[in-house]
Every structure is written in C-alpha cells, then in structure tokens.
Amino acid sequence: MRELKSSHQLPIGGAVLARSAEPPHTGGWRVGEKPRIQLDSCVNCMLCWIYCPDNAIKIKDEALWGFDYDYCKGCGICQEVCPTGAIKMIAEDLALPPFGRIGGEADAA
C-alpha cells in the first residue's frame, strides 16, 4: 500500500508532475480471478495480446511472456480468445510463478 500524501505535500491543485508521479496500478481493482498461462500449450498466436483492454499481456523476444498483474483487471477476455486453452482464470489468492507462467523458465528456477 502506497503512503497517502497530506494536502500540504500535494502539488497545488493536485497537479501530477511526471517527475514525481507513481504509476497508477489499476490491477488493484481486480476482483476474484486472475489469469495464468500453461506455456507448453501456448502457440504464440497473440490473440490475447490483441484483445487485452489493459495492455497487460507481456511479450518478450516476439513470444508471449505472461501477465502484468499491476494492470490486469481480471476481465477474462484472454481466456475467452485463447484458441488452445493455455490461458485459464484462477482464484486470485492462489500462488503463481511470476507473470503467471506455468511450465516456463521462471517456474523451473
């Protein structure tokens, strides 16, 4: 949880200065479920990347990498459009490897 500023600490009129702005982690609005990906079922079609309304699908070296949970709002569209069933929505409180990658390098490490 970020520490909230007092009215004395805020810029005048609540202006947000880029040099001191913190990213608005809208992933905090996610309720209930989060996505995970089974990497050996992923065919890198990138449909999830195209459809994600929050730009929360991360790509690395032209391949799907995983989910940015700071911005994923848990809408489940990625699961709907995934043609191979690699993406599944799971309970928010279940532990996952970083970026929701199952069967990948991060998992192995």
Partner: protein, 395 residues
C-alpha cells in the same frame, strides 16, 4: 434627502467614466494575455470598451470570442493553464452558465480575474441589478469582491490580478459592480498612470504552466483518497486570500492614496445601531448615516467588500458595542436565511446583539434614502426583529 457628490480627491487624471468603462481601463492597463468572453447585459460595455482598446492597439491582448459563457470560462481555464494572464467578464445567466467551470478553475487554482455586472437571475427574466448571480458563485471557491462605485470598480480590478496570482492564493477572483447603477452610470474616476498599474500588477508566472516543458497532468481525477485533500488546499488558499488582500490594500494605498478594507466601518464609533450591506447601496446608506448623525442619532454602517473570504473577525471587532444590526441582502435563499445575513449571524455568534434580516432591491428595485432611514428606526426596538423583512415589497 439630497445626495452629495462622491468623496473623491480631485486629480489631473480624473476622467468621466461609467463603471464598465473604468473596469475596461483597468484591464487595458493590466494588459492581460487572454480575455475570453461572451457579451451579456449589463456586462457588455466592459468587453465592448476593452475590445476597442485592443482594436486600437492599446493592448496586445488576445480576445477569444466564444459561443457561450460556458465556453468563455472553459477557454479561460485553458489559457490560464497554458500560463497566460487571463480575464473574462459576465453577468447573471452568463455566470450561471459558467458556474460549472468556475468550480473547476478554483480547484485547479487558476488565477482568472472575472469582471461582473451584477444582475438578477431569471426567472422572471430581468436585466437589472441584484446580487443573486454573485451569490450563485458563493461556494465555488472564487474570491469575491463587491464594489460601491466606478472608482472602486476600477481600483479593485487593478488589485485583482495580484490577489489572484499570489503564490499562496492562486484562485479566480470575481470583481463585481452593480448592473446599470455602476456599470452604466458615469462618475469622475481617478486612473493611475499606465506604467504605475503595470508596475503594481507585475509579472505573472503560474507554478506548472502547460507550455513550460514540464510534463504535468492538470486537474486530474481524484478518488475518495485524495479529493478531500485538494479541497483542503482551497480552504487554505481562501484563508491566505484574506491576509493577502489586506497587504495589497496597503500596497495599493501607497501608489493610489486609496485604501480598501475587506469590510469598511463607517461612523461605527459609539454607534448603537448599524447596517451591513454590499455594493452601490452602501453609498446611499452612508449619506443616510450622515443625515441621521447630524440629528444626533448614533448610527453607522459596515460595508462588506470582500464577501469571499468573508471578513468575520474584522466585522465582529467593528461591531463591538453595537446593540442592533440590520443586514441588508440583495439576494434571497429560499427557505433559508439570506446569504449576507447568514454570514453575519455566524460571524457574530455568541455576541449580545439584535440582528435583523432585510432583503431589498431584487431585480433592480430602487432603495431610497427614506427606506434606509426606516431600517435604522426599526432597530430602535427589538420587537418583531427576528422576522425577515422585505424593503419596498407591496405585501
């Protein structure tokens, strides 16, 4: 009773000007970067006169002609954000249409100066003076100044940018003059030399201008976790405005010889009865006070110039020892107390003084000296004083 000439010291620079023209001269001398405006009676002669100054090359202001007052205020917000010294002008329905953006300008802390020719709000539609339009903006976060005559309309307009732009204030400032009574009536007005006004007003710089290279989000969305804190900043700014107004009054006196207090006491020493009022009627009431004083009656008045922030402490001190006070409002609050009365009553809470709420002059109805004298006589007895009264109403 006969009215005397205004008590203004003669000067080589005395001009015969209407209040509207006087305000326009102040704007010419200030030379704002941007004036976005839409015409409306009785404000029109302010912008009409100013537009002529611009057309004649006497200022290099950019006038933005817009399609409504909502747009005028919106354009002013944009210009002020970009770092321009910005002004606008309006009245009545125009201020009503602006009001949504006025709240935003105040919250974004944009020091826009607004000249207003006070006019009754519709309906019924009416073009004459009362203070309903200013009172509509009461809770908007604008500093509000109400003037008594053309000279004050000029002087307070010259003071307004420095008040608005003071780093601890940074708020829009409304300088109003009574519609027609001041806007359209010619009086002798003493103007400062142009260079004196420019020197007094000084340079303008906002903290985070859009065009200064700093990447900034102005007027961001604020959730329940921050909205209250932004409002608290406005509360502090308004408190600071009271202090800054007093300092500016002193500075302005040094260059003009004229001193404007947030609330001015007139013959209140040893007074047992007093009136409190705002705007042009204060001039008439001072004449009445003089007449009654000449007859030995202990009467006085307090003229409120700064309605926001309201000078409650100064008023309380000024009225110490006064037994009965009538507050003359030129606006209503249906089902509640009239706006000025509400402020005075709150400010005098706990004091032993009889208060009377009297509403006058709605929709431009005249207030005559005899009626003001009658109010003073009302105050001789406390009987029935708790009932609000309406001066000059035909039952």
């Amino acid at each position: 009773m006969p009215l005397k000439a205004p008590k203004i010291a003669p000067s080589a620079r005395m001009r015969l000007l209407t209040g509207a023209e006087a305000a326009a001269h102040a704007m010419r001398q200030i030379n704002p970067d941007v004036v976005s405006v839409y015409p409306i009676t009785p404000q029109t002669p302010i912008i009409q006169t100013f537009a002529k100054f611009v057309a004649d090359g006497e200022t290099d202001t950019e006038i933005i002609n817009v399609e409504s007052e909502h747009s005028a205020m919106s354009a002013a917000v944009g210009a002020a954000q970009a770092g321009a010294r910005t002004m606008t002008a309006t009245a009545s329905q125009g201020l009503a249409l602006m009001i949504e953006i006025v709240y935003i300008a105040a919250s974004m802390r944009l020091p826009i100066v607004m000249a207003v020719g006070n006019r009754a709000l519709s309906g019924p539609i009416n073009i004459h003076c009362d203070h309903a339009d200013s009172m509509l903006a009461r809770d908007s976060g604008m500093v509000q100044i109400l003037t008594e005559n053309a000279q004050e309309a000029y002087d307070l307009m010259v003071m307004a940018p420095r008040l608005a732009e003071h780093p601890e204030v940074m708020l829009p400032v409304l300088v109003s003059q009574d519609g027609f009574t001041i806007t359209h009536s010619a009086e002798p007005v003493s103007l400062l030399p142009d260079e004196e006004v420019r020197r007094f007003v000084g340079d303008y710089r906002i903290p985070y201008p859009l065009l200064a290279g700093e990447v900034v989000t102005q007027g961001p969305f604020a959730m329940p976790d921050y909205y209250f804190e932004i409002k608290a900043q406005q509360v502090r700014a308004m408190r600071a405005a009271a202090q800054v107004f007093d300092e500016l009054s002193e500075a302005y006196q040094a260059c003009s010889g004229r001193r404007y207090q947030a609330v001015e006491g007139y013959r209140l020493d040893d007074a047992d009865r007093a009136l409190i009022l705002m705007g042009s009627s204060a001039g008439t009431a001072k004449e009445v006070v003089d007449e009654l004083r000449a007859k030995g009656e202990k009467v006085g008045l307090a003229q409120v110039r700064l309605f926001r922030p309201f000078p409650a402490a100064a008023l309380r001190e000024m009225l110490t020892g006064v037994g009965a006070v009538a507050v003359l409002d030129r606006a209503l609050s249906f089902g509640g107390t009239a706006p000025l009365f509400a402020e005075v009553a709150a400010g005098l809470f706990g004091q032993t003084v009889s208060l009377s709420s009297q509403v006058y002059g709605l929709g431009g109805r005249e207030l005559f000296p005899e009626q003001i004298a009658a109010v003073f006589h009302d105050l001789e007895s406390t009987e029935g004083l708790e009932q609000p009264r309406f001066i000059g109403l035909r039952g």
